[in-house]
């Protein structure tokens, strides 16, 4: 089976000279749940815009399930569903009509479009709001409606650009479950997000784009495997005024009742608790100081900036 997405030597130079993409190569296999990460202005939205035909490329090739964007744009567009970052609705139309119209743009007859719209609106808990004008929906509802709209033509590749931005935890979790289920049914998903926890818990593979280039393209597991240290925050039962010396663990005070412990991968949590117990320190709770992927991401971006400064 051809890859869901194959991007080759993709370049985008905007009028004014800004080069947003500098020869991007990227492959996403069919059935993958793929994360595309990068800092603001890295070129993520430009890349997605080109794939979805919202931005014209300067040069390079885009193929979706084997269809070339230049040779057969209609086939490429039929394969893709896009959930953009910004709301892009006619705010005066009822929610149901937005979804039915979108199906019509893909050539799905109105009767069938209504059936599909009902299916996706129900799945995303929006059916009761089908007659409500878009402007009267909450931010979370609009986000879910954009997913229903992108799915109504049943695309093989779903691209989501920051789909959970600004939605509360509960809705975010339900959207994650929905997307996982969709991926399990065979839809390839590409996700950009600023919530790195989202990428870590949903995606199998990842590309990090920085300054218009792919800085890394690997599996989430392989990327996390590169972490050498992790930092935990411990809430203590009593007060600790002087830090004990624990071999292999680096302790820092946050306050008298809270410690930070940095440990490398050779040590275990059991070993940490044993050492703390020996020193009479009791722990009430423990949590990761920082999302693991976030830490790797920041390290990578910092390294790229350092390389760029070195080169110049």
């Amino acid at each position: 089976m051809p890859p869901a997405l194959a991007v080759t030597a993709l370049v985008k130079t905007y009028r004014g000279g800004l080069q947003a993409l500098k020869g991007v190569d990227l492959r996403v296999d069919a059935g993958d749940f793929f994360a595309l990460l990068g800092p603001n202005g890295a070129g993520k939205s430009t890349l997605i815009g080109i794939i979805a035909s919202l931005v014209t490329k300067t040069s390079g090739q885009v193929r979706v399930f084997g269809h070339d964007l230049d040779q057969d744009p209609e086939a490429v567009k039929s394969c893709i569903g896009l959930v953009p970052q910004e709301f892009n609705f006619n705010l005066f139309l009822p929610a149901g009509e937005v979804v039915v119209n979108q199906a019509g743009y893909y050539g799905i007859p109105r009767r069938e479009a209504r059936v599909r719209a009902e299916r996706y609106l129900r799945q995303l808990d929006l059916w009761e709001r089908r007659d409500t004008e878009m402007r009267r929906l909450s931010g979370g509802m609009k986000r879910r409606l954009m997913i229903a709209r992108a799915l109504v033509h049943e695309p093989r590749l779903l691209i989501l650009d920051e789909p959970t931005a600004g939605v509360d935890i509960e809705i975010r979790r339900s959207m994650w479950a929905f997307l996982k289920d969709l991926n399990a049914q065979g839809t390839t998903i590409i996700l950009t997000t600023h919530y790195l926890e989202e990428a870590e818990s949903l995606c199998r593979n990842i590309a990090i784009i920085n300054d218009g280039e792919i800085a890394e393209r690997t599996s989430i597991a392989a990327l996390l495997g590169r972490l050498h240290t992790e930092t935990f925050v411990l809430n203590l039962k009593g007060r600790v005024t002087e830090l004990p010396s624990l071999g292999g663990f680096v302790l820092n005070h946050v306050d008298e009742c809270t410690l930070e412990v940095e440990m490398n991968r050779e040590h275990t949590i059991n070993g940490l608790f044993d050492a703390l117990s020996r020193n009479g320190i009791e722990v009430l709770s423990l949590r990761n100081k920082q999302n693991r992927l976030e830490r790797l991401f920041l390290d990578m971006v910092d390294q790229n900036h350092a390389d760029a400064r070195g080169a110049s």
Binding site: Y14, G49, A52, S53, L54, V55, T56, H67, D72, P73, E74, A75, K77, S78, I80, L82, P84, E86, F87, N88, F89, N90, L91, N101, Q102, G104, Y105, Y106, G107, I108, P109, R110, R149, H153
Partner: protein
Amino acid sequence: MTRGPGTWRRYWVTFATIFGKEFRRFTRIWVQTVLPSVITTTLYFLIFGELIGGRIGPMGGLPYLDFIVPGLVLMAVITNAYSNVVSSFYSSKFSRYVEELLVSPAPNWVILAGYVAGGVARGLTVGATVMLVAMMFTRIEIHSPAVTLLVLCMTAVLFSLGGFINAIYANSFDDISIVPTFVLTPLTYLGGVFYSIDLLPGFWQAVSLANPVLYMVNGFRYGLHGVTDIPLGWAFGIILAFIIGLSWFSLSLLRRGVGIKS
């Protein structure tokens, strides 16, 4: 993607969806879209036709009220076809829901046809309503229904295309009122709506011949009354040439993504 019968059916559904959306839009807000033209032309009929017209005397061999009916109907068609497309397409750009169409496999010509059909529908709806109003002031016997309908449709198509091009280039809501105010209105008023070009001195007659609205008004006047300042073949030829030119230009703008893609 190979083009089989399924493809053409898909194109038809897409066209019908765009047209349906446009039709529902202007009929839902009929107080803003249909009623103003009806009120304005009723005032024209009342003031220029009934009150002043009686003192002006016949024009082009017709009572003055009968003479201005075709021009006023056509003026309503022109204004409404143009403003329907320019406001609808520009709003879709402004609120970015034009992206719903751009990401879909709808070919550019289907998108253009859908919007133009919406403009034509509003133009003809308002034109027909104005015609009904005119019938309250004078008796209208249509000389050639085929010519009347053809000129109306072609005019609506032409100005819908004009509205589309205006919307493509517009960067603000101010930009969509500049062309109607500074181009469309003068062209319409100087296009022989209220007078025969025979009244003009030779030089201004020649200048008037460069005004495309003149051909439409006279073509329509022929359709209604069998009277025209311009040979009918010329009128159709000029309108058709403008339609072909503006269609080609609109499709070229869509293909290049001018104003809608970065």
